[in-house]
Each structure stands twice: as C-alpha cells, then as structure tokens.
Amino acid sequence: MSLWRLAWRRFCRDRVGIVSAAIVLAYVLLAAASAAGWVARDWSNEVGVSYAPPGFLGRDTVQEGLGEVIKAQPRADYGIPDPLGAELADIHANVSGASGRDTRAKTLAFGGDKWGRDVVQKAIKGTETSLVVGLAAAVLATFLGTLFGAAAGYRGGWVDDFFNWLYSVFTSIPYLLLVLAVAAVLDQKGILTVILILGLTGWTGIFRLIRAEYLKHRVREYVLAADAIGASNARRVFVHILPNVSHVVLVQLSLHVVLFIKSEVILSFLGFGVGVDTVSWGSMLAEAPSELILGMWWQIAAATAAMALAVTAFSLFTDAVRDALDPRLA
C-alpha cells in the first residue's frame, strides 16, 4: 500500500477533516457552477429597490424615498426639449430590460445593495472570484516557491546565494507595501492582476521551507542511490525528492489559499483589487462602511458569512491534510 493510500486512510478517520473537506468541496462546486453561468449569472441585474431590505425584516426599515434618487427623469433644460430624449428613454428601457423600474421589488430575500442587486447573488459571484484568486495565486506562489526552493536547496553554491538574496529582498519590504508597489507597477485592475500580485509576492515562505527540505533530502541515501544507478539531476530533483517533500508542498498550497483569499479581500477593500465590473468578497466589504452608517448591514453580513465559513473550513481542511500526510506531527 503506497504512502498516499495510507494518508488517505488516516484522513478518512478524521471527522473534522471530512466535514471541512465537504464544505470546501461545496464551495468549489458553487464557484464552478457560477463560472459556468448556472447560478448567479444575473448578479448585476438591479432587481430590487436601492438598499432593498431582507424580506424577513419588512420594507418599513428603510426610507421609501431612497429608491427615488436614481430615478431617471427626462431632462428639460431652458425649455428646450432634449433632442435625444426619446432615444435615450428607449435605450434605458432596453438596458434595464424586464426588470425595469416598475417591476423592482421592494424587498429581497436577504437584502440588496445600493443599486438594488441581490446580496446573495453577489456573495455567490464573489465566492467565484475569491476562490479563483485564492487558488490560482496559491498555485502560482507554490509553483515559484517550490521551483526556487528546489533549485537553491539541491544545487547549492551560487544558485542558492542568488535565491537567498532574492528572498531577502522580498522579505525586507513590508508585505502590504510590496503588494501595493506591485499593484502600482502592473497598473491594471482585474482578477489576473490580483493573482499576479499575490503569487509574485507570496512565494517566499514556501521557498524557505522547500529549500530546507531539499537541503535535507539531497544527501539522503535514497538520493545517493539514485545517483548510483545513474539518475540525472533533474530526475533526482523531480522524480525522487519531489514526491518525498510533496506533503510540505500540499500543506503550504492550502495554507496559502486561505492566506490569499484574505489578502484579496484586503486588496479589494483598499481599492487595489478587482475592478468595478467584478464582485468579490473584498469589494462587497469595501461598500460596507457607508452602508453601515445608514444601518444597512445585510451586504457585510452576506460577505462575512460566506468568507468566514470558507476560510474556517479551508483551515481545518489544511490541518487535517497535514495530520494525514505527516503523522509524526499529529
């Protein structure tokens, strides 16, 4: 029985691990469904009135008048009728489609945002964004960290010196400052940018761990034995040593997913995250301060609940994976 099968058996015995794995899986499926357009495709439709309260609170909680602010009125300046007025009205009617202002709901199941968008739909779409960012950035950072760590630890000498120098440079700059600097350099808002920012700055911790593992493993007898049968350096690095340090890689990967989900939230909150045309938990939270002053708590509640559950489940899942892969630590 291979070590992977043994690890799987240990994992199956961990009840907390199984439950958190199920939750993580549910999130991933939800994000996939959202990406495929099966759910939350119409998240940007303005289905309710502005700041539509949750249905269970009743509509009285919000001043009726707020919705009127954005009501489109044909302009009449200096008595001259707008020559494009008729066309604009047409376009407006087309754009707002079936959910035109007359059909806007007074309340939504869990409330709406400033533009009357359903916060549940937003949270689902935000899940997709946040998970994609977290996973992709973690994969990128882990890939870089593992590659650099393997090169530095296995090869030693000037390669090791170079990567250590790079590591020192990256870690000597305060993290948020570094992230903001990269964000400023890339100067483009969007999911890909956020992934690059997080991935390019987040590899350092993984690098250190993997480098130490390679330093330890390259003088192990099984690696010497591989050398003795003529295995090339690349084969020793990737075929022999990598599977033996892969538990470290996997645990780091899932730890960084959590870390980057949180980082994305921070970035979006600060306005360096995803663009205005996308929604993420971070951008939902960014809208929250002004809403909270007015007493609209449902958007922050939706984002927080979605994020807290995801992060907690992912963290517990990571712990279970680590215990299963490296039983000595358990």
Partner: protein, 529 residues
Amino acid sequence: MSLLSVRNLGVGFGQVEAVKSVSFDISEHSTVALVGESGSGKSVTALSILGLLPETATRRGEILYGGRNLLQTASRELRALRGAEISMIFQEPMSSLNPVFSVGFQVGEALREHLGLSRGGARRRILELFREVGLSDPEVKVGRYPFQLSGGEQQRVMIAMAIACEPKLLIADEPTSALDVTVQKQILDLIAELQRRRRMSMLFITHDLSLVGTIAEQVIVMRQGEIREQGSVAEVFGAPRDDYTRALLACRPPLDHRPARLPTIESLAPAKEERKRGLRGDEAVVLEARGLAKRFDRVEAVKGASFRLAKGRTLGLVGESGSGKTTLGFLVTGLHRASAGEVRFHGEDARSVPRLAFKRKVQIVFQNPYASLNPRFSVGQILTEPMRIHGIGRDEAERRSRAEGLLAKVGLPGSALFKYPHEFSGGQRQRIAIARALALGPELVVCDEAVSALDVSIQAQLLNLLQDLQDEYAMSYLFISHDLAVVKYMADEVMVMKDGEIVEMAGSDEIYAEPKHPYTKALLASIPK
C-alpha cells in the same frame, strides 16, 4: 539474595504486546545480561523498572524492589529512587547529555538533587568521579560541553553521572553500541570494574551476545517479548537449550575458521566445507585506485588511498567511525569527486568513461536499508528504474519480469513488486537494495556497512546471499565494515583505515594472524571473545 525481582511482567502499547509475562531476578552484587535483537522487548523491560514507560502503556505483573512493587509506586517516590538507588546508562551518550550545559554541571545536578551537597562539595565529588571513570584532566573536562568531548568521553561522563549517587542497581542499555570497537572495549572494562569495585548489581542490555561472556554471570535471551532461555553464562554458552539461542551463537561469523556458509536460524547445521580466501595473484584487476584523496573544506577525509580490486574477489575495508571509509567508497563509485588521484576502471581512467557506462558497472549497497529506498516508490519501480535509465529490456513488461527474477535471486516473492518499502523488515529491505544494485549487472559492488544495521540472525542470511551472488556472477566487492569478524569472513584482502589513511593492507588470514601496524593490533585486541 535477590535485589530486584520481575514477576510476570507484561507491557502493551495499544494492540501490540511488547513484553509478555517476563520473570527474572537480579541478585545482589551480580550482573545479569539481557540479550535480544531489535523488537525483543529488552529496552521496554528496562524502562518499566525505572518507571519511564509512556502513560499510554498498559502494564501487568510486578517488579519487586526493597519490598515494594515499582509498578504501583507513586511517581514522586520513583523519582527519588531513580538516580539514587537505580540508575541508567543509555545507548547514545550524545543525545542523552544536554548540549547547553557543561558536563560538570550535569553530573553535579544529580549530586545536589539526591545528596544535597554544597557547590564546593559537589565539585570535589565530580572530580573524584571523573578520575574514577578514567577521564583525563578532570579539572578541564568539568567545564567542557558535550560536543567538545569524544563519544567515549561522553559515555564516561554518563557513567560518572549514573554512579554519582552510588546506586545499588545500574541498568546499562546498549552502552557501547554507538561506540567504536576500541572504545567499546575500554568502556566495557570500565563498567565491569566499577561493578566489582562498588559491589553494585547490574542489568546489562545488549544485542551482541559476544559482549556478554566477559561481563555477566547470568544471561537472559529474549525474543518478541518472551524469554527464550535464562541461566548462567556457562550454561547458556556451553549448552544452549533453545534453538534461538543456539542460532544467535552460531550466526556470528567465527574468527578462527571460515565455513562456506554461515548457519542461519532456518538451517543451524554448520557447513562442513571451508571457504578459501586470499588472492592467487593472477586475477584480472577490475578497478584500481591511485592516490585517491578527498578534502572537505579543511578536513582531509581520505589521504592518498591506493589499492586494486581483483575480479570476483572481495576487498575488505575496516576502520572506525570518521576514518574515511564511506568517503572512499563514494569516491570509488563516483558519488564524490576526488580532490586528487584517480580511479582506473579496467586500466582506463574512470573520468574518461561515460557516466552512465561507469555507473552500470559499479554499484553500491548502503548501510541503512530504511533510508536507501525511496519511500514513495513501489519495489517494482525501484527495481525497474535503473533498467529504464540504462535502456535495459525492450519494454516495461520485460523489465518487470527481469525485476521478478531479481527478487527471486535475493529470496523475495514476486508479489513484493507491488508493495512499498515500509511494508518490509530491515533484512528484506536490504535484499531489495541488493536486487537494485544487481539490476544493472555490475562488475563491482561497494557494500558500505551493508549488514551493520541488521540483527545477527539476519546478518548471516545476507552474508550468505552476498557470497552466493558473488559465486554466481563473479562480481568484485569492496566490503566496508567496522565489524572485524564480518570482514574476516567475507574478504580475501583487508585494508585498515585510520584518519583517512590506509595504514595496513594484507591478505585476510595474514592480517588477522600477524597484524603489523599498531592500530591494527589495537583493533584486533578489542574484538570481544
């Protein structure tokens, strides 16, 4: 009159019963040796006497000492007993000493704790103890840290600590297995002398039956948690009643003659025919080393080694830890690059031979079978990988059937192909490692302490296997070991290495009969008889 009686002691860890209903007595002023291979339960027995078993262990029976059952004594009372009346010497002196305190402080701790001595009084006592255990310059050594002492000196400090409070019972758990042979002899003599002089009782735990004769009066042989045989040394050695004891006594390679096959647990009958060793002088030379040297930063690990390896013969390489024998083995196999000198393979400079072609002909078997097999590879992958790298066999199916053949050669079933290393015992893993070396059909195999990590009974099986393979394939061996008896049995020629230098080299019978170099003499004198 017995000082300590163990009655039906049973210790279990979860489902595993480590010790099953063991009974024995240790009488006053005598030494009892507890002998067994790894996993026999000997250390667990010792730990239960001291009350040092983990909380999770289940224990049955009783251990009577001074009218008390130690298994039911409160831990506070046990602590007062430990160190003062019963003390212990452990196997690894380096890991038993705390690296951040001076050795004087650590010995003094026991004195202050149990005897309530003042600082000055403790210091005087420490100096006395250090003199008693034969540490040179005790005034200097008191302030030294563990890493500044050699292995033998560390063990002397441990012994000083153990006898500091004049215990009635000393438990020595493999006190010499981590030490070199020459040091081992000194430490054994010291322990035996201290036991006599201080009239202590001693429980001496070892896996090496040959150590027992010189030190103990009573012997207990354990296997798999049970006592197989106990009695006086004369009885057990002279007329062993138990098959296992008999096997343990017979499996060690004898020094005075050389049977063609070693007896094993399965076939105890000693071989009638003898094996002839030594070179005729007309053998082809497979590999020649000329002035090989290796330098790591400031340390010269190997200084100008020159020797020849004859076809189908075994060259033994003997030396203590740190003598450079493993480095020399790595230089020969090309795992290390030499700082100076050259390796000639069939008369050709090995550096001009293509890397893969050289590796194919020169293989190595490592000491630790737990470390030398990749734990993520199945045995099938381990055995077919060298063939794939060297393009042996037309396709995967052919390589697989070859791998099966190799397994059969080393005495493992074909079903082993689909298993992983951790599913095998140490001896079986070493067989897999040998099969891997054979996969390429090498002309020379370096055996770097290939049987040293194994129990005596397994050792004999593997030595027989290596010999059979040599007879069949006419391979040459460079046989590296610290174990002089094993080298004498296996080698045609023997080199003795000390501090990176080859100090003596001669035919295997010659060197054991008439050693010339003083170091060789010292080595041979320290073989336990």
